[in-house]
Assembly symmetry: C2
């Protein structure tokens, strides 16, 4: 199989996934029909089913697609002990990057809802959550190590607690970005700065 074909295939899949995402974002998973997605994509039923086996398959694809920007952000944000970044700045970068990448935060909230009932979406959530929490923990730990005079065990414990807080703050930021017009993520997070100083 020639190279072009393979790339075309991937492109088609992205096209279809994009159409599905727009429909889901607009009407939600249960109110969106395959016909909606077919119409939105400008393709035909056959074309869709040639790439995705079912509606559930599309939902999972979209869910994965929505989570992937988070993971990319994470990968581009290693926690370096040598150059500690203020945890709030880190979280701001992560959250702003995510919002920019996903564009539509409403779909993110919907995917959370799906994660609550679908095992495979749940797995995606768990993976991302674990990584976010761990990276937050590392950043907090690095920061406290560099700036606070505390015994190592205290830092360990504090870091985990503060990482959970930071993670929750980010999640709440996503909810408010989705539902509050003109919500200012940056200002929102800045208010948490004193926690780490």
């Amino acid at each position: 199989m020639p190279k072009v074909t393979e790339e075309h295939r991937k492109g088609r899949r992205r096209e279809i996934l994009g159409a599905a995402l727009r429909c889901f974002a607009r009407k939600g998973f249960h109110a969106t029909s395959m016909s909606d997605i077919i119409a939105e994509s400008g393709l035909s039923a056959g074309a869709i089913y040639g790439h995705y086996a079912s509606k559930d398959d599309l939902i999972r694809g979209v869910a994965a697609d929505v989570f992937s920007p988070v993971l990319s952000e994470l990968r581009s944000a290693p926690a370096l002990p040598e150059q500690p970044v203020h945890p709030v700045d880190f979280a701001t970068r992560l959250l702003e990057g995510l919002v920019a990448a996903v564009g539509n935060t409403a779909i993110l909230v919907q995917v959370w809802g799906e994660a609550a009932v679908d095992a495979s979406v749940r797995e995606l959530f768990d993976t991302v959550y674990a990584q976010v929490l761990e990276l937050n923990r590392q950043h907090v730990s690095n920061w406290l190590s560099a700036t606070a005079r505390m015994p190592v065990e205290a830092i360990e414990e504090q870091s985990l607690q503060l990482a959970r807080l930071l993670t929750g703050l980010a999640q709440g930021g996503i909810v408010q970005t989705a539902f509050v017009d003109g919500f200012d993520v940056r200002g929102y997070l800045q208010a948490a700065r004193p926690l780490f100083d």
Copy 2:
């Protein structure tokens, strides 16, 4: 119309709503069929449709039902300037009360997802959000007024920012309660205490 009848009617509606809620919590809105709800309720199709006009009607009913504990909590938690409560303690009470009342936080996340695409559920969300934010703001403001030496305008501004933070923290707490086994809401929020001291 005699009194008993009216009460019976209400009871039946609650029964049906309870069955619907259990189904939705288990399988989600789109994977739950009316047959599922009918079976879960132990009643018949006719009985259900005698009380709720459609599946969407049930979804909205469940959404309202899920939000109502939040509102009850709010009503039972007035913000008194004379006896300021530490904002974290207030938020803890609110969140623990909510978690206890709803029982199933997974359904809450799903309702958020629905709010992202259904106007009438969205309205419910907006109402609750506005009230939570305002009550948080009042509590923070009272607390800062009593404990911090700041000019009034600074308190006003700080209060709103911190209220948004507290609200986001609560939302993140709901997400983590829904998805993290054995998540300790109380400990989670306590870590935010320094923000107000």
